[in-house]
Amino acid sequence: MLKFQWGKAVPLAALVLWGTCGWGQSSAASENTSANTAPPPAYVPRAAGAPPAVDTPAQVEALHRLEARAQERSAAERQKYNEEIAPSYNYHYGKNNPFTPGNLRVEGKGFIQPGAFPTAEYCGTCHQEAYSQWRQALHSNSFRSPFYRASVNILIRDSTRGIAFARHCDSCHNPIAVAAGGLTENSLVDRSRIDSDGLTCTTCHSVLQLDSTNGNAGLQLGVPAVIVDEKGNRIPGQVPFDEILRHPERHSKAVMHDFMHTPEFCAACHKANLPATLNDYKFIRAFTTFDEWQQSKFSQRNPLNFYAADFKTCQDCHMPRSAATLPEYGAKKGQFASHRWLAGNTAVPFYYGFDEQLKKTIEFLRAGNYLNVDIFGLKRNSDNRLIAPLGSTKFSLAPSDTVEALVVIQNKNIGHSLLPEVRDLYEAWVEFSVSDDQGREIYHSGFLKPDGMLDPRAHSFTNRPVTDEGDFVDNHKVWTIHSVAYDNTVPAGRSVLVRYQFRLPADIAGAVHVTAKVNYRHLRQSYLNNIFGKDHPDYPVVEIASRTRVLNIGENRAVPPEANDNPDWMRWNNLGIALLDQQQYAEAVAAFTEVIKLRYDYVDGYTNVGLTEISWEKYGSARTAIHKALSLDPQNARALYYDGLLQRRLGNTEREIADFRKVVEQFPQSRDARRELGITYYQKKYDHEAMEQFEALQKIDPDDLAAHYNLSILYRRAGRAKEAADQQAMFIDKKVDPGAPTYSLDYLRVHPEIATESIPWHMHSDLLNEGGGSGHGK
């Protein structure tokens, strides 16, 4: 139904241009998360491998007429729409950049009218499973949720910025609003449906092209089409269902692309930076889940991971196939890729009452063996002897013992960091508790206070972005971020070590129950308070992983491992990784050596010793370890990489080049190998070869600083002045501001609880006043 209102007599009257699509407005309170309960139009799929249906001449003619009408109407409406919208649109960054600071592009010229996008209800007629999942998922609620609105409204109301700057955020959170020209003062665009549906079906399913992995909605949005003609030309707008059902292959060609199955598709929005056009400052990396995945074991693109895994994309974890429970013509053999995108967000389904989504989110967080929590070892009474691995070794405990517990938390099976993306808003932390047999609490870190706030001394996986005055950037006012004073996470495939110290009571008898948990809350309490005021319900806290050990006062023997426990060699390995990241190199080498004792033929065991000693600058012993690794496996890319670095130290350039080339051959998308090989060539003045490597590196990571830096010099040497200048400008924009540490230090100076946490080696302890601990306690 065409719905078009305009006023020649009243040129500034509200315009509602919707094009051909019928409307029914939606809000959470009114919506049914099934598009409709009526059965979809009848459809019998053709047998697998059967050729497409052959149209009669009348059907061909009818389709051509429909196509001609659709093209004409689409063009006319778009032109009319642009004539009305463009004159009052704020082209803050110039007419060629209507959507900056976002990276969104649209097909053709000008804005796309909202009515060009078929509604989710239209799609949901046949795709009822997809619709019901999408309606409860984050994508459909990407704009309207209060958690987003509270933040973006601040930017819109900011007197130095305003709604034009919100194009940065809404390019991903509400791209139809951006593409429709809705993000301008005195907007003439009806927002009710756009805002309710956020990333609707035809947002993702109208993407024509991905730009480089710059993020910030780096993609081209097409004029939506749900079908193509027999030649593959897109027919804009909605078409009768029988046309789609007669040629599902044409429907698929219009709405599906190979790139939609790749992580690069997700990267368009799950990678973000804060450009100078937003903050009037410089490029600041916001988050990059995509790069974290690319560096993880699941991408199989990075030879330097500590562990290996089968190839897995974002979609494999977040859109797994399962049996469809509602009519779903997109299902294959009854299985359908989930449109719930289960991940960590419990806040949205909690707020909207989407009980099924909430339940499945919690199940997802708990089900995947994503983390391993290991109460790895103890030290007693300041004795430096490590009792470990707990469970595999005998030891004794006595009343009044001062105990140091080493808890190793491994990011075992997440394809990105814990937590990814906006750690300033999310809240994950370690809760560590010690109690006796009667449940009497002996020590507790990471508790929630009565007001819901987290124990400020908890070990939490969070960050602290700060302004240029060292103030914490609360409320996600990202345009004010100048530095990150603190950033704690567990990168994919790595581990962290958290130390706790407590004293056993003098009168304790029986056993001591020691528990370590990793808890997660979406979002942190102070942000929830900012959104709702303090009188909001308690938001869910999910225990993702935990481990309890029962330790006897007196003698303790070895006990069988639990089902989720890692084998001992991996427990030592994870300790080594954590110690390496805490720059405790001697201890890390000792830990990795324990791995070798248990697995003498484990190549990575030797490589891990070697790479630690390289960080430690003990190159002689590093060579011994790497040499041993290569003797076990001469083609091992990981060992070859570190050997390349060692050959460089020795000045053996040919060996160095040979090593890095072998790594690049095995892992052509290894950014580290490309970078080092490029450096080697650069140092040898093999400019052409160096350029090749840095250009390849830039394709892998468009923001790599070494690529910008070296290419600016290499291009200049080659007489390519403009390209050199571009690379130089990007380097200057993206390199860290030399003043950034000052802003961070200004923050840390007045926040001792975080300052202590930011020291890699720190202890959580109740014994501060007794001189037995360092700065923590209730």
């Binding site: 009114s30 609105r149 509270a150 665009v189």
Partner: protein, 176 residues
């Protein structure tokens, strides 16, 4: 007589023209006042009213209510959307007061602001109305969607309610 008639006709035409111009100017003025509602733009209101809405917005002196009124007049039919927002130190109690003042039953509405209540439809002064009251933190809002005609086919109760909830989502979103 004929000349008198022609004179009157001419005068009447002139008056029509003047009236049209005045109307045009007033509508234009109203249109120039368009989009001054801080919680919803005119286009969105027009969409919810399924017509071309004109806006009247009165700003809020500190502590008093601010009110946006969108009116769509078509022939004998008048549809209105009224949004009223006030800041209250006892916002929850104020919402309860307003919900109670609806008369009849009110039902809580999830996922709108901090809290919201939908009032039962009323027939008042010939207008059929649906009302929702709620708050975002200490900002209390009251939204009324109404139609003057019982036979307004676009305005049966379910549709009225659906549009009202959509309006509430818009307003509460702006208030967050």
């Amino acid at each position: 007589m004929a000349s008198n008639f022609r004179d009157w006709s001419r005068l009447f035409s002139t008056m029509q023209g003047v009236l049209a111009a005045v109307l045009l100017m007033s509508l234009t003025s109203a249109a120039h006042a368009a989009n001054q509602c801080p919680w919803m733009n005119q286009a969105t209101a027009s969409g919810l009213l399924e017509g071309e809405a004109n806006i009247e917005y009165s700003k809020s002196p500190a502590g008093q209510a601010g009110i946006c009124t969108f009116i769509d007049r078509e022939a004998s039919l008048t549809r209105t959307l009224t949004i009223q927002v006030e800041v209250s130190p006892a916002a929850h109690q104020r919402v309860e007061e307003l919900a109670h003042a609806c008369g009849g039953q009110s039902e809580p509405v999830p996922a709108v602001g901090n809290e919201a209540n939908l009032c039962s439809s009323t027939d008042r002064k010939g207008m059929r109305e649906e009302r929702i009251v709620g708050r975002v933190r200490d900002q209390v809002f009251s939204i009324v969607l109404g139609t003057s005609s019982k036979n307004d086919s676009a305005r049966h109760a379910d549709m009225l309610r659906m549009h009202l909830l959509s309006a509430a989502e818009q307003v509460s979103g702006s208030l967050f």
